[in-house]
Amino acid sequence: MARSVIDVPDLTKEELDQLMDTAEDIIARPDDYADACRRKKLATLFFEPSTRTRLSFEAAMYELGGNVLSVTGANSSSAAKGESVADTAKTVSCYADIIAMRHPKEGAASVAARNASVPVINAGDGGHCHPTQTLADLLTIRREKGRLGNLTVGLCGDLKFGRTVHSLLNAMSRYEGLRFVLISPEELKVPSYVKSDALKKKGIPYTQTENLEEVIGDLDILYMTRVQRERFFNEEDYLRLRDSYILTPEKMKKARDDLSVMHPLPRVNEISVAVDDDPRACYFKQVLNGKYMRMALILMLLGLKGGTQA
């Protein structure tokens, strides 16, 4: 079984740091990596819709000089005929050197990894894991702040169902000097098992609040997520809280000048478009950083080097 990445804990802290170093090197010297994956093929198996992640993986492979084989949508593959994930993984391993897979079923990437003879990268398995989003988040924080420790990080919105939030909490909890501010309605608080694993067991301080405006001035990072109407038990609560989790230029006035606003995207209305022009908005930089981290991850899993590492 080849080395695969299904969730962020599959990577050690040292590997995370190494991936970020590689990504930084790619950003500084892209030409040095232009042929790093020559004659290598990435298969992107996307069994549910995706814009950013699939294009990001494909752009990453092309910028490394490799090729891409692509399946988009379950209807255009043998999955429509009832083929199992295990058989799909075995089959695609015959054609490609590495697989990036998104699947609506939770745990599908893990099944693929156990059956593929090439590395599998989980590009999202239902509401379960999306590790390369977390890699993008980590690189963005490191590039914006120059460090991943000694920060006050605010996570805002749907902290109960948001897989990116849980994954980021777990990944960042490996760094020193962090403090988390968890901003969400009562219904959408971080689940207790996530708090227990990522925060309490490691003695990481955190506070919980429903009020973004009260705490925005304390934050180095504000990680926004979408609050969805269907997550609420009743409409009244949704209407009462909805606007308080929309980031507007007025709320940004209360924030520090060096705040970095992040969002895993897609955004619906939780960040006002007017905030996009604020120099503290980093969410589109996150998208770009995601491509560089995917390049670094592909190189690592293929055992290839480029740039100053070659």
Partner: protein, 140 residues
């Protein structure tokens, strides 16, 4: 109340009162042709009350299932009317095809011949999670 002693078989003792039937069902003892005695609410000096299961046949029981239901239980192997072995039970790290994931979005709900695997994630809380989707096992 008297239940005849067995000659060749097993006695699962020190089962927490109320867990006996759960064990009986999970071990599939209802499918055995051999005599099985299910004794509940037996007075116990240490436990107050306990359940006991006696099986009058030399069968292999899944110790992982017993460990999951009640890690405090003991398994006594009886040969020729004598106690041959007394096994202490531990909570298993992994359960295969014992529990079933109730998350409809889990890959185990549709993938052909995929084992239902649950891993122990919190020993103190006796918490198991699906190895595929990490959904917490619900009590059975």
């Amino acid at each position: 109340m008297n239940v005849d002693s067995i000659r060749d078989g097993i006695v699962i003792d020190h089962i927490a009162a109320g867990c006996g039937m759960k064990l009986y069902r999970l071990l599939g003892l209802e499918n055995l042709e051999a005599p099985v005695a299910m004794i509940t609410n037996v007075v116990s000096g240490k436990m107050g009350r306990k359940d006991i299961i006696k099986v009058d046949a030399a069968i292999d029981v899944d110790l992982d299932i017993i460990g999951y239901v009640d890690p405090g239980a003991t398994v006594n192997i009886i040969c020729d009317g004598e106690l041959k072995e007394k096994k202490r039970i531990e909570m298993p790290e992994k359960l295969v095809n014992v529990l079933f994931c109730k998350n409809p979005r889990c890959i185990s709900s549709c993938e052909q011949e995929l084992d239902q695997v649950f891993c122990l994630t919190d020993r103190a809380k006796k918490e198991y999670r699906c190895a595929w989707c990490e959904t917490k096992a619900s009590n059975i």
